[in-house]
Amino acid sequence: MTEPILAVRGLKVTFPGSAGDVRAVRGVDYELRPGEVLGIVGESGSGKSASALAVTGLLPQYAQVEGSVLLDGKEIVGQDDEAMTKIRGKRIAVVFQDPLSALTPVYTIGDQISEAIRIHNDVSKEAARKRTVELLKLVGIPNAADRANAFPHEFSGGMRQRVMIAMSIANDPDVIIADEPTTALDVTIQAQVLELLRKAREVTGAAIVMITHDLSVIAGFADRVAVMYAGRIVETGTVDEVFYSPRMPYTMGLLGAIPRADETGDRPLVPIEGTPPSLLNLPPGCPFAARCPLVFDTCREVEPALIAVGSPGHQSACHLAEKIEAGGWGPTDVFPLPELAEAAVARIPREEREVVLEAKDLVRHYPLLKGAVFKRQVGAVQAVDGISFDVRDGETLGLVGESGCGKSTTLLEVLELAAPQAGRIVVLGRDTAELSASDRRALRRDVNIVFQDPMASLDPRMPVSDILAEPMRAHGLGAKEIATRVRELLRLVGLNPEHAARYPQQFSGGQRQRIGIARALALEPELLVLDEPVSALDVSIQAGVINLLEDLRARLGLSYLFVAHDLAVVRHIADRIAVMYLGKIVEIGDVTLVYERASHPYTQALLSAIPLPDPHKERARRRILLEGDLPSPADPPSGCRFRTRCPKFAALDEERRRRCLEEEPPLYGLNGADHAAACHYAAVVKVV
């Protein structure tokens, strides 16, 4: 057995603060073998980032780090800045999460990469420059020599992350620490970047520590996994062991809470009650005790140590680990599954149901301004360029696409309840172009929105009771009625009505999102528009909110227009789905049909890029990778907008290509079912 390149023992990180010390990392042990990929998984507050940054010595100066970190046998904790500068960038490299803020805005990326090279190698500027261009080619930046003179903000998010990776492998490091490298990226770009990280590993032979909250990404990428909770590792083992035989209730809960793109949405998700504990005053015993369905007395008194269970190398920090092993329990054995209501209207076939929302050839362009001192219009961003869809009573339409596809713009257009730039919007039978101001106000009772960011969607200066009362006051309800309704609403979303006088900051993220949902329901709407309502939440909280949304829809007879980029969530919650690309709908139809019989190349690429929390499946999957970046929405390609990145286009002959170049494909119906795709040469490919 080879010696580990990185050995961490008893790592502790404490942040002193005026209200008390925050023990972010409370004793972490792991080993990293050369060339291995270790995935460290955890939700917010688990301490995963702090533990990784502690290894590099890049924590803020007031942080206290204890314990031992051996890099190839040499201790690096406690080394001074001078010694660490020789290690950083050369033996240990870091890829950070947000490449826009991680790159200096005033220097070209060529300069920044050359700098990384010249810090550790005594070479001339020209030599460093040559190597820079090589690296850029290696990471797949087109026109590398020219692009090296560009500034960070001129690149897209995916390209910037490639630049960060190029910087990190410049000096052939032994260890690469990737701190949530793909969290800020779209799914297809994420697939590209993960592929690139694999390549980086091959080229440099480096071991990778991959920190993420996304278990699915780990399934296909890592060799070993460590699950962190409240500052400690609670389960670790090979990927197969942890995913197929989790032996710690938290891991089991996480695995049960993740919606899967390859499953139909019939089974409710497994929610984990409660929230992670505060690291300021950790109660004694197991930190998961307050949320664990298997909890008994010892759990609250003694914190369990990591013990071996099952195969060697597999460890779990749970007093009941052996019992779980012996009984072969899975997530659904341990966590109770909630009962979800069934909507009455679901039994009526779709065609006979009332049309709640209809959009026909909807268009929204934004003027594009250029220049700093003198702004002038140089074109128009075609955010939404002619889309049509409808939502029937009691159904959920999922609008999916990556950033820049126009889905959020569509939402806002619908909500304005005004005449669109072109096309038509009909809400509950009323054409928005014909509404008077009072009609519009009345209609606002029936259509409402739930936003993505639970922090930004509630006014931090207003107590919850006022937040919920606001829509009712705006429509003239009386004070007594409002008070009753506020309590009713809080109960409806699973919150304690006694807490109505509190401020949003005093609630957790999941609870705030529930308040946002309650607010949207205040006036008993018919249609709810949801803009990525769970993407800002931790996985364990997400499941609870998704279940709530489904339950409410059935019980209150609502219809949803659901915008998301997480296709696994959409499969779970939507009845129908519309896939958008550069302002157009490229595929639309019943969700099962679209997922299982994806016909448009973009949908196929999108679906193949979604990671599944299933190591075997992940390893066996063939990914369809898209080339390059999204074209500018101000200047979309002629004919079919997807042709510049379409793998099918690349494989076509000259004559058939002409059709894609000249003729914009309409939505062709497929097999007479509720399924249509905008591709001249649509063909089914099974990707999930």
Binding site: F15, G17, V22, G45, H213, V447, P471, A474, G494
Partner: protein, 310 residues
């Protein structure tokens, strides 16, 4: 998740809360927003020093005159140009006026003018900036053109030109003029912040609920930029005091027989090298007031900013 700074952690981590029907949470430990802000302010020594000095100077200005038997209009014909003594704490002027009484009176004037100007100008800035930023379009363009115009006019000159017209009238006119030239820069900042807030989700939510626009501005936007407004108001106090003393120094502001620190300093400048007390006391107290107010303003800004590491 990014590594938190020491200060940000306190507000983001809350005591354990359970969803739905769980055990009741300890209410007493959750602090209200303003006490948190004040606690942070207290930790900054310079800011507390400034606050104490401001309070003391206020007391001095308004209670001080009772500490001496001389009124500011009195003339002691037995004591011209005398240095500080037990009967005249700050000495006397060429005409026998008691410098202490004069300085106290001047301080009162300067302090009141400073506060009134700050209130008017900050209020004006908040209204104009918020409405311009929220409504956009021609409302924005016309308001901002007006702001630009006022910015282009040299304030000192205009007030100086107009000063003969309010000779003999109340000094309130002067307050209005000073306020009229102080609000523009803040208005632009308020406008910028309003534009970014107007796309914040809770504002959009209110709009889509049917809440009328002025209500949104007053209930959602202005309270959320209150930190900026408070800091700005404090800084405007010192700017107003300096503005007033500058104008009075050249004879354009407060007019005799009324006194302000500016007129006193002007009178004392000529003899600064020979009869130092005529200059030193009013000038020194002026610097002290402005310094203290600036320290308070700076401390408030740090206390209200959650990322400032206090």
């Amino acid at each position: 998740m990014s590594v938190p700074s020491s200060g940000a952690l306190e507000t983001s981590l809350q005591p354990d809360q359970t969803e739905g029907g769980g055990p009741p949470i300890d209410e007493t430990r959750i602090a209200s927003r303003w006490s948190v802000v004040f606690a942070r302010f207290r930790r900054k020594r310079l800011a507390m020093f400034g606050l104490v000095v401001v309070v003391l100077l206020f007391l001095l200005a308004f209670i001080g005159p009772y500490l001496t038997s001389w009124e500011y209009t009195d003339h002691d014909f037995n004591a011209f140009l005398q240095g500080p003594s037990t009967s005249h704490y700050f000495g006397t002027t060429q005409t026998g006026g008691d410098v202490f009484a004069l300085t106290m009176r001047g301080m009162q004037k300067s302090l009141i003018i400073g506060i009134l100007v700050a209130l008017f100008s900050t209020g004006m800035a908040a209204l104009v900036g918020a409405f311009a930023g929220y409504f956009g379009g021609w409302v924005d363009r016309s308001l901002m053109w007006f702001v630009d115009l006022l910015l282009v006019l040299p304030s000192f000159l205009i007030i100086a030109i107009l000063s003969p017209t309010f000779k003999g009238k109340t000094w309130l006119v002067f307050v209005v003029l000073l306020a009229a030239f102080l609000w523009m820069v803040t208005a632009r900042i308020v406008r910028g912040m309003t534009i970014s807030l107007a796309n914040r989700e809770y504002v959009l939510a209110a709009r889509f609920m049917g809440v009328p626009a002025p209500r949104i501005i007053f209930r959602h936007i202005l309270p959320n930029i209150s930190s900026l407004l408070i800091v700005d108001a404090t800084i405007n106090v010192s700017a107003a005091i300096i503005g007033e003393t500058s104008l009075s120094f050249f004879g354009f502001g407060v007019q005799p027989p009324d006194v302000s620190l500016g007129t006193l300093i002007a009178d004392g400048t000529g003899s600064a090298t020979t009869y130092a007390w005529l200059f030193a006391f009013p000038a020194g107290l002026l610097v002290l007031i402005v310094l203290a107010v600036n320290l308070v303003g700076d401390g408030l800004r740090d206390a209200l900013d959650p990322t400032s590491g206090l």
